[in-house]
Amino acid sequence: MQIPGQEKSFIFPVFVMGLFCVTILAGLVGTILPSLNFLPVIGHTKVSLSVWRDFFSYPGIQASFFVTIFSGITASFGVVSFAFFFISVSYGNTLWKFFEKILSPVLSIPHAAFAVGFGFLIAPSGWLIRMVSPSLTGFTTPPDWMILNDPAGISLTIALMIKEFPFLIMVTMGALGQLDIKETLLVGRALGYTKEQIWLKILIPRLYPHLRLSIFAVIAYSLCVVDIAILLGPSAPPSLAVLILKWFNDPDVGFKLLAAAGALFLFFIVLLSILCVYLIEGSAGFFLRPFIINGKRSSFLAWFKPVIFFMGMCIIHFTFISSVILVIWSLTWQWRFPDFLPATWTLNFWAKGMVASFDPVMTTVFTGVAAALLGLLLTIGCLEHDVNSRKNKTKNHTRYLQYFLYLPLLVPQITFMAGIQLLLVIMKMDGYWITLMLSHLLFVLPYMFIALSATYLAFDGRVTDQAILLGRSYTRVLFRIKLPMLLKPILFSFAIGFSVSVAQYIPTMLVGAGRFSTITTEVVNIASGSDRRIMAVYALIQQCLPMAMYAMAIILPKILYYNRKGMQV
């Protein structure tokens, strides 16, 4: 039986579907047509496959392709398996608890800022070498080693793994709540299994379905990444996503066609990779069965425990030191090799940066908060519809939603957004704040969904049923009982949505028509110059915004529920 108030909830998934359908269609049409040599404004109207021929014969395209595949697949595979191993050996121990505490600040570090810091850490003229030069190494000038920007993309792969690991751990922490871990471990231990073996054989296979979407997002991100790839990836030729961006901005407008073909090709690679993972999932269930039921109590993983600990510590340290480097650069006046610390310091750049970034920061905050609030409304609306229609066995619109909700994460942003830009300009809607905010929503919403859905769907319905039985209306119960109980995950999903909005560069540029500068557009602009000092200031300011939101997500429940111990967890 439907309870009054529930029947209208279908508008949420329907609205989201409408929004996403229109934009994705516009994006795809705006990409497919140019890739078929159809772009009337630059005089190409004869539909043909010539663009594709040009694309495949472009000098260095194979190398681009291989470096993209290598870095994308290795990074995704590496980080996912490492995350599983890490959970298996360290769940519940001190390192894990430490991770829980520092996760939010680590997550809030923007990719580009991390890449700058990380690059300066490991470069031949970087901090690690400076620490031991010239005293130990005798280097007065940096050695000519190929550590950064290596043609194979190894440094890029490592950076991607370091940056994606905390994201996966965060999603896992959200999903762990739905598995009865304590009980499983207890039973497993009673049967003589070691902790690692229980995780590998029982818990991870049950955890995986909850992480599937996040893993797909990691794969898509690793294959399409631009900002880290520009800073740490190879340059001649660069990875596919960087090449596409270069083509798109090439003064010779004919390259726009190539960019469209490249973007479609990259999209195809992403889809193919995800399909592969899907197939592997199925076969893994079959092939790993003997391993799961072989009855072996101890695990090979125990041997690698120190290695896994060490790698986990490395990830934390690299991330932390990358931020420290930014702080030092922001206070630098002059700093040359092989000095371990700057020769002269200044507060000049902070003074300048704080003044100059005030307006962009305000724009960023307003847009981010609006997009995350709207995202929250839609996410909760859709999830509530999902819960209700499952219970009432009515038509579930949210189920269809997931088929394209995640598309914006899978399609390379640059060309996808170019189609949307054209559509907005035709409708005379470009350059408005509202369209800018909605374009952010396209990317904010999927992440908020990923972050919230698992916990939300796992909410114990008996609590709300009880309240309704006590005679309260559906909406009242939702706002007085359910949402307050879910406050912490909701705030977290809000903080994630906000930080995704803060990070958007391409949508802000294309949809905002240059009318809106956010802290991220400022960072990217400054990064196109050479001054690391002012860039560090901007990057740190950028980093502060999501950090403040995460801090709020942690502190607010503690303040509101200071007298309800059970709700602070």
């Binding site: 003229s125 003064p251 010779d252 830009q421 054209l422 557009t521 196109s528 110059g529």
Partner: protein, 397 residues
């Protein structure tokens, strides 16, 4: 008597015209009042951003034109946006009112009819521009046709660390010899970045047998033969480059960081004052100096243009005109501020304006105008695409 009438007629016509012209401009200034213009310009340099900020303030106070600096990472995406607006038939209220541009981007805009103009001849300060210079009339060999207003000059200058290099090279063969002696201490940005392309153009200009050919459109049949010395040179140079020529910096700005990190000893930039400016603001140590090759180096100019669909063209012209004023140009030329060479002809200036330029100090690492010389002209623009394609084929694998 007949002559007298002719002269009289001439004088009358001239007065009427000049008055009409003067009235035109004051009308434009009047119209510009209260307009908001979006000035799209590269925003990667703090000193340049601060200079633009200053100009915006002055124009707001003097002409009541509100200028907003829209910072771009790559002016290519601004050109893309204007192109999209044209595709969507947006004839008015374009998102861009004025943009900083030259070379290939200008070519793209001109070919795709994205420009408003001709307009620069109407700017009162345009008559002070040293129009005798070819670079003012041809932007990368494309006729400017008053479709853009000159803003500044550029010339390729090399920079080196005097602490590490005692005697700098003065030609490409000497640069190769330097690289052999100091493996890994020189590099150039990957093609098709602007600085990388400029470097290989410079190599070609220095090594080609018959430089005259470069003034004409490239002919496929001769391309191979004429550019042979360039590829031979690069083949020899690459094993001695930074990272053995397997990795290239992505941009000219990255070259500056590499120089500061001691990764390379010789770098280059496209502004004769940029090193002085970087020393001034602490980005480089004061041991860096600049030099050019004895044959001279490529020079060109950069410009401001107005898109066809701007709805604040008067405001854009007022701002462009202000940026051409002796006051703005002299401030821009100051290495402590930005150090971008002026486009004005000093001889055409009135006394007090001349004094403005006299007061501009010479940067610590800046060459004198005599040392910089006339500068070499850019090769015909059609060469760029051929050179870039060939480079990618040979070295980007």
């Amino acid at each position: 008597m007949k002559h007298f009438f002719l002269i009289l007629l001439g004088v009358v016509v001239l007065t009427v015209f000049s008055q009409a012209f003067a009235k035109d401009w004051s009308e434009i200034e009047q119209e510009a009042k209260g307009q908001t213009i979006y000035f799209n310009a590269w925003g990667g340099s703090q000193p340049i951003n601060e200079y633009i900020q200053w100009a915006c303030q002055v124009v707001q106070e003097t002409y009541k034109v509100r200028v907003i600096h829209v910072k771009a990472t790559d002016i290519g995406d601004v050109v893309s946006r204007i192109l999209v607006e044209k595709a969507a038939d947006k004839q008015t209220n374009g998102s861009v009112d004025l943009l900083w541009i030259n070379g290939e981007n200008f070519k793209a805009m001109k070919e795709n009819m994205l420009l408003y103009g001709p307009f620069s001849q109407n700017l009162p300060h345009y008559k002070l521009v040293s129009t005798l210079k070819k670079t003012m009339l041809y932007d990368f060999t494309i006729p400017v046709d008053n479709m853009e207003s000159p803003w500044g000059m550029a010339q390729l200058v090399f920079s080196y660390d005097t602490k590490q290099v005692s005697k700098h090279p003065t030609s490409m063969p000497e640069l190769l010899a330097f690289a052999r002696q100091n493996p890994g201490k020189f590099t150039y940005p990957a093609i098709p970045s602007f600085h990388g392309t400029t470097f290989i153009k410079q190599v070609l200009l220095e090594l080609i047998q018959d430089p005259e050919i470069l003034n004409k459109p490239v002919i496929q049949a001769d391309f191979e033969k004429n550019t042979r010395p360039l590829w031979d040179f690069l083949n020899e140079l690459h094993p001695f480059l930074w990272r053995k020529g397997k990795v290239f910096p992505t941009s000219g700005s990255q070259m500056l960081s590499l120089l500061n990190d001691n990764e390379i000893f010789i770098s280059f930039s496209f502004n004769p004052n940029s090193v002085s400016n970087a020393i001034e603001n602490g980005e480089l140590p004061n041991t860096i100096r600049t030099y050019i090759h004895t044959m001279g180096t490529i020079s060109n100019a950069h410009f401001l243009s107005i898109p066809f669909n701007s709805s604040a063209k008067s405001g854009a012209m007022v701002f462009a005109n202000f940026l051409l004023s002796p006051m703005a140009q002299a401030r821009k030329a100051d290495p402590r501020i930005w150090g971008d060479p002026s486009v004005l002809d000093i001889k055409k200036l009135a006394g007090p304006d001349k004094a403005l330029f006299k007061a501009v100090p010479k940067g610590i690492a800046t060459l004198t105008p005599e040392e910089l010389g006339q500068g070499l002209p850019e090769p015909h623009v059609s060469w760029v695409q051929f050179l870039e394609k060939e480079w990618l084929k040979k070295y980007s694998r």
